[in-house]
Structures are given as structure tokens and as C-alpha cells.
């Protein structure tokens, strides 16, 4: 494989997953991520993997549940309405402490909406995972290369915390072409986790994968164990990048495609004489609360930029905790913001 290839975000997600060891894909087509299942249907069978087109997203997530129960490294991908349909299944995966990776290429909503880029599934990703106290570990790449890299890492992370991991991107990142350095494809580990089902011919005790705990204290223990893993993840997996001025007046917070836009916006703002620093959470759950809290002490204002009516901003506000005003700039329904508009907004609030 040549070093640097011009591929789309969808291709990066698919090939990155394969390179990371994913061998099983269960999914249902939906724009703007169709190139992921199409890629998988062409490439997984070639290397002994399995592509199954599920009859629906409800079926897909439950196939994933079955696959994950065997210890397989499996994934699905979808876009907003499809992810909504997976909520019950996600809750079951969390309850049964099963790992998996899912991609959400977010589109404009609510309802059928459109297929334009949006970030309005932030709550669905970070607070969703259906009913109960569980959550998805959520990562938001902002370039094709980062999609490729993060999805590869998502599989071992999912296994480690025995929890679904969501890669949250959008219609722009999905169809964007950028140079991407491809690694060699790794094989998934041969040894299955101790909890996996698969017949007990090897003489072990039988394994049961289950989320039913009628006795509340037992159910609570499961929740505490899950919560414990989230805390570990907060220790180990919290990721973000910072760009811009070291002594900023304005702290800009944005993730994913918005953060890319803000990268250029803060340059424009700097040209207009306003020093900004951009904090870009890569992990949305766990959230890089501390670094935002820290900087919030030292700036005049925080500006949150997101492609929704104000979801991500709540996590930022929970981090800032009143240390300074938090301003908002968001568009929704598939409308993109431009760096020029963000810069204008920065100037306006500075």
C-alpha cells in the first residue's frame, strides 16, 4: 500500500477499522455513511471477515451484541436516525458489559432532516446509549487521518472498558478527501476474552452474557463497576488538542469539524488583534473538563462553537462553572459555519 493516499473520511473509517483488527461488520445503509458498508462488503470477505447487511439498525446493533458476546471485534456505522434506533441495543451492550465500535456520521435533524453536516447528536452520543446510567465512550476526530487513527484505537479501548465506543463525525468529514497515511492491517488478538461465549469445549465454566439483574443491589453493583470503568477511562483516555495563543483573551471550545473551522477562525481573529486559544476535545466522554476549567480562570470569555443549538456547550459550562462568561455560536440543521463568521463572532464578544 502506498504511504499517503487521498481517501474520504468514510473510507478512512472502514479501512482504519480493518487495520485496527475489526473483522465483523453489521449495518444498514444510510446516507452519508454508505461508503463504509460498501467498503466493508467488498473488503471484509477477502480477508476472512464477515459483512452482514442487517434488515434495520435495530437488528444491526443486536447482531453486534451477539458478535461482541463471542469476543469478536465488530462494528457498525450509521447516521443520526439509525443511531436513534440503536438506543435500546446500546443500553443492553452496556448492561451486559460488551465492547463494540460504532460510527455516527451526523446529519441535520431532527426527524428525517437532511444529509448535510451537523453536530446535533452530541447528547445522543455522550448522554445517550438509551435508558439507564450507561454512556458511550465518544471520540470526535476532525480530519481523515484522525478518523483512520482513532477508529483503529477504538477497538482495544472498547475491549479494555467493555463498553461501546462511538466515533462521532459528520457529513463533511464523511465525504471529505484528505491525504491519509495507512498502516499495515493488524489481526485481532487470537485469544478471546475470558467472559466470551463460544461453547465451553475448552473445559471452562460456562459463560453467561446478561443484563438482567432483578435484585436491585446487584444491578447497582453492575452500575458501579461500569462507572468505575468510566473513571478509569477518564484517567487514561481523555484527549484534546490546543492551538493558538499562550496568553489568550478568548478561549474557543469546539470539536470535530467545528474545531477545524475554528483553527482558521482564531488565525483571522489574531490578525484582528484578538488572541485566542482553541481547545478541541477529542474525547467527548470522557470530557477534558480540567483543561477547560484551568483556562477558563485565565481568559475573559469562552466561546463555544458547534453545529447545533447548544448541546456541547453544556459540557463546557459544567467545566467552566461560572469562572467566566460562556458565549455561544452555533448553527444547525446542516448549515455550516465559516471561519470568517466565527472570527466575526470572536471580535463581537471580545
Amino acid at each position: 500500500m502506498p504511504e499517503r493516499q487521498l481517501i474520504t473520511g468514510n473510507e478512512a473509517a472502514a479501512e482504519g477499522a480493518i487495520a485496527g483488527g475489526c473483522r465483523y461488520f453489521f449495518g444498514y445503509p444510510i446516507t452519508p455513511q454508505n461508503k463504509i458498508p460498501e467498503y466493508m462488503s467488498a473488503h471484509l470477505p477477502e480477508i476472512g471477515g464477515v459483512y452482514i447487511q442487517a434488515e434495520s439498525e435495530v437488528a444491526a446493533i443486536n447482531m453486534l451484541y451477539g458478535a461482541a458476546a463471542t469476543g469478536a471485534w465488530a462494528m457498525t456505522s450509521s447516521s443520526s436516525p439509525g443511531i436513534s434506533l440503536m438506543q435500546e441495543g446500546l443500553s443492553y451492550m452496556i448492561g451486559a458489559e460488551l465492547p463494540c465500535v460504532l460510527v455516527n456520521m451526523v446529519r441535520g435533524g431532527p426527524g428525517l432532516g437532511n444529509i448535510a453536516p451537523a453536530q446535533s447528536d452530541y447528547w445522543l452520543a455522550t448522554r445517550g446509549a438509551g435508558h439507564g446510567d450507561g454512556r458511550c465512550l465518544t471520540f470526535a476526530p476532525f480530519s481523515v487521518q484522525e478518523i483512520y487513527d482513532l477508529i483503529g484505537q477504538a477497538f482495544p479501548i472498547a475491549q479494555r472498558y467493555r463498553n461501546p465506543v462511538m466515533i462521532l463525525a459528520d457529513a463533511v468529514l464523511a465525504s471529505m478527501r484528505e491525504p491519509c497515511v495507512l498502516r499495515e492491517r493488524l489481526d485481532p488478538p487470537e485469544e478471546k476474552p475470558a467472559w466470551a461465549v463460544g461453547g465451553r469445549r475448552r473445559g471452562r465454566q460456562r459463560n453467561i452474557v446478561n443484563s438482567l439483574w432483578t435484585d436491585p443491589p446487584v444491578m447497582e453493583e453492575v452500575n458501579l463497576r461500569i462507572q468505575q470503568r468510566y473513571e478509569e477511562a477518564a484517567q487514561n483516555e481523555t484527549r484534546w488538542t490546543e492551538h493558538g495563543a499562550d496568553a489568550p483573551e478568548i478561549l474557543v471550545c469546539a470539536y470535530g469539524i467545528s474545531a477545524r473551522i475554528c483553527q482558521t477562525a482564531i488565525e483571522h481573529a489574531a490578525e484582528a488583534g484578538i488572541a485566542c486559544r482553541l481547545i478541541r476535545p477529542i474525547s467527548l466522554f470522557p470530557f477534558p473538563t480540567e483543561v477547560i476549567a484551568d483556562w477558563a480562570q485565565r481568559v475573559k470569555k469562552v466561546l463555544v462553537v458547534e453545529l447545533s443549538m447548544g448541546q456541547f456547550i453544556e459540557d463546557v459550562r459544567l467545566a467552566v462553572e461560572g469562572a467566566c462568561p460562556v458565549e455561544f455560536f452555533g448553527r444547525t440543521g446542516g448549515v455550516l459555519v465559516t471561519p470568517e463568521e466565527v472570527a466575526e463572532r470572536i471580535i463581537e464578544i471580545a
Binding site: F26, V58, A59, N62, G66, A72, G199, R200, I208
Partner: protein, 264 residues
């Protein structure tokens, strides 16, 4: 004087199947879910499949099936057993996988999943317990509830206006070429129980032979929500249910295969 010594040999002729744990089942007295469990376990024993079997418990009175079958087990979301089985079997094709599903689970919320698994010719077995009612949630109408039958959500009896017609699952599945074994049985008498076991055995054999999707529908009693004594419930199956749900082997590709071989 000659003394007469006696040797006493004790030979088990019926014992608890190895593929059941010794956990006591939580079913109501006389509920034939228990017979169905036993039959599946006996079949696993006889075919020596227990050690490579994965049982899929679904949501209904049999939700605790994972406690009863002494195999690896997965508890699945309501109606999604066939999707879960697909995921498992596709990743571990050398295992024996079966779902154990009620009529609410399979015929109401899970109808699409079971039909699509059949269409994909997924190579696992479904044990389908049709008791014409949602047992676990306290006796509401199921898709298989009979016309006129009173349930907690058809207090005046099922009518076309409010509940529509009963769904005959086997008759639907019989239309799908991915189905390799398909039969409807019941457990109302020792003879019926033996027939039921024979069909279950075939279904697992079909799976072991990799022939495709297999399903055995077992018309089962729910004395509790039918408000009947256990024996009355069996009688009602014979008198009423079997008319709506005729007992029959719909598809048997094993037999067809054997027939084909014999015809050589």
C-alpha cells in the same frame, strides 16, 4: 442348605438431562415451558452438542433460560434473539446456537428479525413457544391470541376491530427458502411430547449439518393467564388452539436430503 443370594442392579431409565443445570425453574405450576426446556436439553444430550452450544434467552417468562440450560448463554433484548444469534453464529460458525422465544417476543416485537434470519438462511435453531399470550407481563394479547380469547388487553375477547387476526408464524416461514426445518408441535400428552422432541432433534441436526434456518413452534400452555388448571390448559390446546395452529412438519430438508440420497 443352599442359600439364595440376590444382586440388585439399579439402572436409570429416566434422569434429569445433563444439559439442564439443577436450578429450579421459575415457571408457574403446570406451565409447559418446563417440558420444552427439558426436551431441548435431552436433544442436546443425545446429539452430544452441549459443549458447543450457546443458548439465547429472550424476554418473556423464559428470560431466565440462561440459568437453566447448562451451556454458554446470552440474554437478548426483547424480540432480537435472531439478530443476536446471527451475530454469534457468524463469528463462531462452529458453535450450535439456539434462541428460545415466546410468541410476544418472536411474533410481535421480533417478527422482522426472525423472518430476516430465515431469509438469510442463518444456520441456527429457534425454539418458539406459542402460548397465545404475553405471559411475563401479565397476560396481555399476543399476535397469536385466538379470536375471542380474553386477555388483560382484550377484556371482551380478541376482535378483528381491536386486535386483528392471529398470526400463524410457521405458515409465514414456510414461504421462505432459507428455512431448512420447520414444524409445529405441542406437549399435551406423552405422545405429543415425543413428537415434539423428534422435531427438536431434527432441527438441531439440521443445524449441525449446516443446512440453514430451523424453527420448531411448540404450542404451550399458560395456565396462569388462561385462568385454567394445568390439565384444562392442555385440553384447551387440543380442543381449540390446534385448530388455529395445526400440528405439522412444514419443511424438512434433512428428510429431503435423505430421500434424495435413497433415490440415487
Amino acid at each position: 442348605m443352599n442359600t439364595l443370594a440376590t444382586t440388585k442392579t439399579i439402572q436409570p431409565i429416566y434422569t434429569r438431562p445433563d444439559s439442564l443445570t439443577d436450578v429450579q425453574m421459575r415457571y408457574c405450576p403446570g406451565c409447559t415451558h418446563g417440558i420444552a426446556h427439558r426436551l431441548v436439553a435431552e436433544v442436546l444430550d443425545e446429539l452430544d452438542l452441549k459443549d458447543r452450544t450457546i443458548a439465547i434467552a429472550t424476554v418473556g417468562c423464559s428470560v431466565y433460560a440462561y440459568e437453566y440450560f447448562d451451556t454458554d448463554a446470552v440474554q437478548a433484548a426483547h424480540g432480537r434473539g435472531p439478530a443476536v444469534a446471527t451475530g454469534i453464529k457468524r463469528c463462531q460458525p462452529d458453535t450450535i446456537v439456539f434462541t428460545y422465544q415466546g410468541d410476544g417476543d418472536l411474533a410481535a416485537i421480533g417478527l422482522a428479525e426472525v423472518l430476516h434470519a430465515a431469509a438469510r438462511a442463518e444456520n441456527f435453531t429457534v425454539v418458539f413457544i406459542n402460548n397465545a399470550v404475553f405471559g411475563m407481563t401479565q397476560g396481555q394479547m399476543a399476535p397469536t391470541t385466538l379470536m375471542g380469547q380474553k386477555t388483560t388487553t382484550t377484556p371482551l375477547g380478541r376482535s378483528v376491530e381491536q386486535g386483528g387476526y392471529p398470526l400463524n408464524i410457521c405458515e409465514l416461514l414456510a414461504q421462505i427458502p432459507g428455512v431448512a426445518y420447520l414444524a409445529r408441535e405441542t406437549m399435551t400428552s406423552p405422545k405429543r411430547v415425543r413428537h415434539a422432541k423428534r422435531s427438536l432433534k431434527k432441527a438441531f441436526q439440521v443445524q449441525a449439518a449446516g443446512l440453514g434456518f430451523s424453527l420448531v413452534e411448540l404450542i404451550s400452555s399458560c395456565p396462569t393467564w388462561w385462568h385454567m388448571k394445568p390439565l384444562e390448559a392442555l385440553q384447551w390446546i387440543e380442543d381449540v388452539m390446534v385448530e388455529q395452529y395445526p400440528l405439522k412438519v412444514f419443511v424438512d430438508k434433512l428428510e429431503q436430503g435423505e430421500q434424495a440420497e435413497k433415490n440415487l
